[in-house]
């Protein structure tokens, strides 16, 4: 039985919207602010399930 198709345009920040502020620790333990880190550059923000499995 196939899954019902999902409308991904309604999931998460929408196209044309400013991506919300995100501040999280990176692999070195320091806090990284997404927009500060971009420093005016375009950015690719990737969400994935896990680095562990």
């Amino acid at each position: 039985m196939p899954l019902p198709p999902r409308d991904f345009s309604t999931i998460g920040p929408k196209e044309g919207q400013r991506f919300p502020d995100v501040r999280l620790r990176d692999q070195k333990g320091g806090l990284v602010d997404l927009h500060e880190y971009r420093a005016g550059r375009p950015a690719l923000v990737v969400f994935y399930r896990s680095a562990e499995w």
Partner: protein
């Protein structure tokens, strides 16, 4: 990478990310959203993972809780979302460069594309990454250079002419998606009352390939056949083809455990 900042976010702890980054030589930020609060705030958590997995016969598992939908956002210089791309499946992934190539139209050319020629056409082909891992999607780019004074026929096809096309030799576990070409140009031609669609100059086609074979699939030579029919101002030559073999190596899955397939009952 093309002046684009790259960050990746998951629910892993800083320690897990530190080990992963060290094992793979990753220098861009891997952000730790332990507990998935940021991802939940962004509305990206897939609360239907368990029921979706049940459809596929996958057993409930504590680590499937608080998972985001797998995907990516492309932001412009002002931080506005210009593209988003999500997948239902957690196994199928784009390469970072493949994703950027698709969303921005930027193609990173590796240092050594494979080249073959048969006048008046030269074909160069390359993958956006020289290596693949299990279930990774790579972009194959096929660049067709047509000598000046010639064109090649394009879709939509006309009776008796062969449009430009790419065929990929079947390979165990290799999933081939439809090729994409830029728009063709319609030219007036005697014998074709509504004209003939053609490409001229340099035209790049792209074919997304997913390496879905089990780990240990090994290194491959991806067989690429480009079929075309070239015409000059007066007449068309016979249909012809150019074949190339594009090498790709299997990268080791360092420090990664793979999901155990669960058979459906």
């Amino acid at each position: 990478m093309n002046g684009i900042a790259l960050v990746a976010i998951s629910y892993d702890s800083v320690e897990v990310l530190r080990n992963f980054a060290a094992a793979h030589g990753i220098t861009y930020p891997l952000l730790s959203d332990e507990g998935s609060l940021a991802m939940r705030g962004l509305g990206l958590i897939n609360d239907r993972v368990q029921e979706d997995h049940a459809v596929y016969g996958i057993q409930p598992n504590a680590r499937h809780v608080n998972l985001p939908y797998p995907g990516a956002f492309l932001l412009d210089r002002d931080g506005l979302v210009t593209h988003k791309r999500f997948y239902e499946s957690y196994r199928e992934r784009d390469t970072g460069t493949g994703l950027i190539a698709q969303t921005l139209g930027i193609i990173d050319e590796p240092s050594a594309p494979v080249v073959a020629a048969s006048s008046p056409v030269t074909v160069r082909a390359w993958l956006d990454s020289p290596t693949y891992v299990f279930f990774q999607r790579l972009m194959l780019t096929v660049e067709v250079s047509i000598d000046s004074g010639f064109c090649v026929c394009a879709d939509p096809p006309r009776d008796g002419v062969t449009p430009l096309s790419i065929a990929i030799e079947p390979l165990g576990g290799l999933e081939v998606n439809p090729a994409r070409w830029p728009a063709a140009r319609r030219v007036a031609r005697p014998g074709f009352h509504d004209g003939l669609w053609v490409h001229e100059g340099v035209v790049r086609g792209t074919v997304p390939l997913t390496f879905a074979a089990a780990p240990g699939g090994g290194d491959h030579l991806v067989g690429v056949t480009v079929r075309y029919q070239a015409c000059d101002g007066a007449s068309c030559l016979l249909p012809s083809s150019i074949q190339l073999r594009v090498p790709v190596r299997e990268a080791a899955l360092i420090g990664r455990s793979l999901p155990t397939p669960v058979s459906k009952t």
